[in-house]
C-alpha cells in the first residue's frame, strides 16, 4: 500500500473534535432558540402568531410590525430619555471611578485599607435595604419624576467600577508615578495625564457595563419616574404590555428594538466585557 492513510491517533483526534463541535452546537442552538423565537414572532402578520404548533419562518414577513410597535407609544421619547440617562450616568461613572480608584491605588493615606474593605463590602450589600430612604430623600429634594435620581449617584462612584479600575491601576508600575513626581507633577496631573490615558481598556469595560446596566434598568425608573414623557424604554415596554396584551408580534418587535443596541455594544466590545466579569470574579479569591 502506498496511499497515505491517517494513523489511528489522528482519526481519534478528528472524531473527538467532531463530537465536541456537535456538543457545542447543540448547546448554542438551545441558548439561541428563545431569541430566534423572539425575532420570528416579531415578524409575523396579525393573528399568525396564534398558530399551534408554531411556525418558525414567518410567512409573509411583516417588517411593518416594527413601525407600528414604535408609533403606538411615544417610543422616540423613551429612546431619547434612555439615551440621556445612559450617557449622563456613564460619564459620571467613568469620572468618579477613575478618580476614586486613583486615590485607593496610588496614594498612601491613613485609613485607606479600611475604607477599601468597606467599599468591597458594599458590593455585596442588598440594594433593597437602602431603597426606601433613598426614595424618601429624592422625594424631599423634589427630584422625583426627573432624571436626577438615575444619573447623579453615578457621579459619586459605584463600588464595582471603582474596584475594577483600581485593580487595573495596580498593574501599572509605580515607578511611572515616581518619575512624574520627580519632574514636579502633582497627583492631579499624574491621574489625568498619565493614568487616565493608560487605563483606556478598563475605562472601556466600565463604559460598557454602565451602558448596559442603565439601558436595562427597570426598578430605578419604575420607582423614580411617573409621567409618560419621562419614561425610559424599559418602562415603556412594560406599559406597552399592559395596554396591548394580545399583540404579541408587536410586543416582540418592541422587545427586539430594545435588545438591538445592547447587542451592538456587546459585539463591538466583547473583549472588554469579558475582562470586566473575569476581574470581578477574581475578587472572590
Amino acid at each position: 500500500m502506498t496511499t497515505r492513510t491517517a494513523t489511528w491517533p489522528q482519526v481519534r483526534t478528528v472524531i473527538r473534535h467532531l463530537l465536541t463541535h456537535v456538543l457545542l452546537l447543540g448547546i448554542s442552538t438551545t441558548m439561541m432558540i428563545p431569541l430566534a423565537w423572539l425575532i420570528s414572532t416579531s415578524l409575523k402578520g396579525r393573528g399568525l402568531e396564534f398558530v399551534f404548533p408554531p411556525q418558525w419562518i414567518p410567512d409573509p414577513i411583516v417588517w411593518r410590525n416594527y413601525w407600528e410597535a414604535l408609533t403606538i407609544l411615544p417610543f422616540h421619547l423613551f429612546l431619547r430619555n434612555t439615551l440621556f440617562i445612559t450617557i449622563a450616568a456613564t460619564t459620571g461613572s467613568l469620572l468618579s471611578a477613575s478618580m476614586v480608584a486613583f486615590g485607593f491605588a496610588r496614594i498612601r493615606f491613613p485609613g485607606r485599607d479600611f475604607l477599601f474593605a468597606v467599599l468591597l463590602s458594599t458590593m455585596m450589600l442588598p440594594y433593597v435595604v437602602t431603597l426606601i430612604p433613598t426614595f424618601l430623600l429624592f422625594k424631599f429634594l423634589h427630584w422625583l419624576d426627573t432624571f436626577l435620581p438615575l444619573t447623579v449617584p453615578a457621579f459619586f462612584g459605584d463600588a464595582f467600577f471603582i474596584f475594577l479600575v483600581r485593580q487595573f491601576y495596580m498593574t501599572i508600575p509605580i515607578e511611572l508615578d515616581e518619575a512624574a513626581r520627580i519632574d514636579g507633577a502633582s497627583y492631579f496631573r499624574i491621574w489625568w495625564s498619565l493614568m487616565v490615558p493608560l487605563s483606556k481598556p478598563v475605562l472601556a469595560t466600565v463604559a460598557i457595563f454602565s451602558f448596559i446596566w442603565n439601558w436595562n434598568d427597570f426598578m430605578g425608573p419604575l420607582i423614580f419616574i411617573n409621567s409618560l414623557e419621562n419614561r425610559t424604554l424599559a418602562l415603556g415596554l412594560a406599559s406597552f404590555r399592559s395596554m396591548h396584551t394580545a399583540r404579541w408580534n408587536l410586543l416582540m418587535a418592541a422587545s427586539t428594538v430594545m435588545l438591538i443596541p445592547v447587542l451592538i455594544v456587546f459585539f463591538t466590545a466583547q473583549r472588554y466585557f469579558i475582562q470586566g466579569i473575569v476581574t470581578s470574579g477574581l475578587a472572590g479569591r
Binding site: 457545542l24 428563545p34 486615590g103 442588598p126 448596559i212 412594560a238
Partner: protein, 314 residues
Amino acid sequence: MHLEVAERMLDHIMQHSRHSRQWWRDALAGYVFISPWLLGFLIWTAGPMAASFAISLMEWEVVIPPFFIAFKNYVNLLKDPLFTLSLSNTAYYTFIGVPLQLMTALFLAMSLNLKVRGISIYRTMYYLPSVTPTVASAMLWLWIFNPEFGIANAALRVFGIPKQLWLLDPNLAKPCFIIMSLWGVGGSMVIFLAGLQGVPIELYEAASIDGANAWHRFHYVTLPMITPIIFFNFIMGIIGSFQIFTSAFIMTDGGPQNKTLFSVLYLYRNGFQYFKMGYASALAWVIFLIILSFTLLQLKFSKRWVYYETELKM
C-alpha cells in the same frame, strides 16, 4: 484671605506633627481623590441604611405623620401570612435555583474549555442571553410559556406530553422562573471559564501519569482548584436570587395564588403601592439580615471546603 489662614493653619499642624510634610500632603490628596465615593457612601449607603432602620421602627404612612412604634412592624411581619409565604417562595427560588444555575454555568464553562477551533463564537452565543434586558427577556419568556401558543408547549408536544399552563399553574410557576434564570447564567459561566483556564496544566498531566481518568481528573483536580470560584458564584447567586423582582413583577405580579410573590415584590407593594414605608423598611431589614447571615455563615463554613492555593492579598 481665608485660604491664607487655612494654609497657615495647615503649616502650623505640619510643623508640630510627628509626621512629615509629605505625609500630610498625601493624606489630604488621598481623601480628596476618594471624596466622591466617601460622600456617596454616606449619602446613598450608610445614611439610608441607618434611616431605613429608623423608619422600620415607625408607623410611616402617607396621610398621618410618622410616629415611633418600636418593633411592632417586625412583630406584625411575623404574623403576616403573605410575608412568610413570600419568604418561602424566595427560599424555594434561591435554594433550588442557585445550585442548578451553578451546575449549568459550570457545565457550559467546561464545554467552552475544550480545545477546538471557533470557541469564541460558541462563547458569544452562550453569553448573549445574559445581556438581554430583563424587561425584554421577561416579555419573551411570558410568550414562550404561553399556554396556548408558546414554544414551551410545542417542545413538550415533540415528546407527546400534553399542554401545560406553565406560569398559570400554581405548581409550575416557580420552576418556570428557575428555567428562565438558567438561560441567563452567562456571567457565572465566564467566571468559571476563567477559573478553569487558571488550573495549571501540569496538575492534569501529573494526574494522567498516575492513571487518572476524565472523571478522576474532574473530581480530584478541577473541582478542588475552582472551589474559590464556586464559592464566589454561590454567594453572588444567593444575593442576586434573593432579590428577584423585575421578571416576577412583569410576568406574574405574584400570581397564581401568590405562588410567585417573592420578598422584594412584596416589599415593593407595601412601600410603593400601599405607601407603608415603615412596614416596607422592616421588610427590607429582614431581607437584608437573612442575606447577611447567610453570607456570613457561608464565609465561616467556606474554610472547610474552599481551597486557596496561595494567600492572595487585595
